[in-house]
Amino acid sequence: MTISGPALLFLVLGLGLVGWLTGRARARAFATSQGRQALHSLPSYHGWYVALWAIVPPLVFLAVWTALSPGLVTEAVLSTPAAQGLPADGFSRSAILGEARSIALGQLDAGFNPQAQAFVAPYREAMAHYSMLGAVAALLLLFAGWAFGYTRLKANFRARTRVERVVMALLLIASLIAILTTIGIVLSLVFESARFFGMVSPIAFLTGTNWNPSSGNVDPDLFGAIPLFWGTILIGAIIAMLVAIPLGLMSAIYLTQYAHSNVRAWMKPILEILAGVPTVVYGYFAALTVAPALRDFAVMIGIPQASSESAMAAGIVMGVMIIPFVSSMADDSINAVPQSMRDGSLAMGSTKSETIKQVILPAALPGVVGGVLLAVSRAIGETMIVVMAAGLSANMTANPFASVTTVTAQIVKLLTGDQEFDSAKTLAAFALGLVLFIVTLLLNIVALRVVKKYREAYE
């Protein structure tokens, strides 16, 4: 007899419910025999206490078991006499075993590899064995946990305190998952980058001006990332910001200072919706509409090297994409400027625009600067628009109508297609990712500091 995973899960949870009922019933019995006052916690807390003891150990065990048992199953299969006939070469060996496993699980009808058939029966047997073992162990744990929890109940037992503690632990684990994942990502970036820097020196990478990586070649002269950094700065920090800062700031000033509340009520949500448009849509717009128009314009006024993939197209569209972001940050900072300061200026007889220029903007400036830094960090990490509209040729040019490439676009290029994950070419993507990560992290830290300091100034 085997028991499927979901069924086992339901069984555990069902028995947990039984544990809850028994715990609560016991607490109620205490209440009737010793009086309600004798009870430290509500009966339902006793129920939760028992239920948690009953289900948490088997669930943890099952999680571990699910991770371990495939290895144990393979071990068992390999120790059968049939395994003697397997080819020595690891690749075909695992292909055969994998196929046999799929057939045994019913995911495949028949093997492509005739040898696989021989292992189906051993696989079935081993899997049934281990899943049985796991189920039995889980249920034993469940009963042990239940018995432990149940016998500890007393009238004055502090069930509520303990349940609260478990709830807190659960919440802590949930919040740790995001942090741990980030740490994992960073570690993998650092690790892979270290491998890359073992092949190409960091100096050559960070200061070289020729970017032309190819597989199998570790010539440091081909891994100079300066053109990518330049392209990233040109698009994300210069062109995009030239578009986003003035427009975002002006729209924030209009919305906070001039717009009637009715206008503000529909305009602000629209701006916020713009921020949610998928970047690939902006990418289309940049590549299909803006870029050709800009090229025609550049050709018309006689700019050399005008390309249909240009820094200008990507930068302008990226700037438009960032407008809502800048505008909402500026909006917040302007609103944080105390009304009393505005009144003070108006009472001196200044006009609305004088007040904005002389008092409100200077007061809101630190917040706006923080918002702009956050916007830059978003812009340089943005991928889709540059992949679609900026091009992939690593040019060191100040001509905004020429094609340039960025860090993110190159990461995509290096990692798409069939690649071995240990050539200098693919590992370079991790080094680029690491640089990008560090720069955006620093930008974010500085920006948040500035904004925070500014908030404190008006509290």
Binding site: P338, D343, G344, S345, M348, G349, V359, A363
Partner: protein, 266 residues
Amino acid sequence: MSTDTSDAVSATGSPNAKMTARDVSVFYGDKQAINSVSIDVDRDNVTAFIGPSGCGKSTFLRTLNRMNDTIPSARVEGEIKLDGEDIYASAMDVVQLRARVGMVFQKPNPFPKSIYDNVAYGPKIHGLADNKGEMDTIVERSLKRAGLWEEVKDRLTDSGTALSGGQQQRLCIARAIAVDPEVILMDEPCSALDPIATAKIEELIHELRGRYAIVIVTHNMQQAARVSQRTAFFHLGTLVEYGLTTDIFTNPRETRTKDYITGRYG
């Protein structure tokens, strides 16, 4: 200068009036905050507005330099004149008006600029100085009149927000003085200050009296008694009683005034 010796002041009809309000009502949306107030503001004296919180003192004060214009829901009815000129007439330029009728707020609100630039702000926007030398003179004179010069003359480039609360409030008074106004409105200028800073401001008000017509809102009755020569008692949006400060505090005509002054409510 003082007219304290005249027997009684009526709410209206004083020949010495700088500003006159007639049947002024103020509404916030549908809600009426001021109900038909008529009052004269004397040019040589300090006029105090007293009354329980929410009775409309600030609202009425703000009608005198049209600061209520900045509140979209506010609407003013009636007539207010400055030296006989209707300040709500379409010919009146509100920018000019506010240069003539300055205001100091409850909470010190210096701009996030240097001390110098705070004071120079008004003269700059009204084009009162042609060169740096003239501006220096205006700034120095204003800071001296506000009794702040000695304390800040060596650090005029420091931020105005770095001063203490009392200094900030005197900076705001200097800022208001810098455009050489005719009237200065003060809305509870000491309520955010400690007693020593408060005493300094009160002393300053004494010194400024005569040069400017001063209206001060306060809910501190001792303060009203100390700094003003005229007192107006507001209650629930109406002007209950207006007269010489000495009369109001020693011999009020209305029982409501008496109750308030003796601390029966408020």
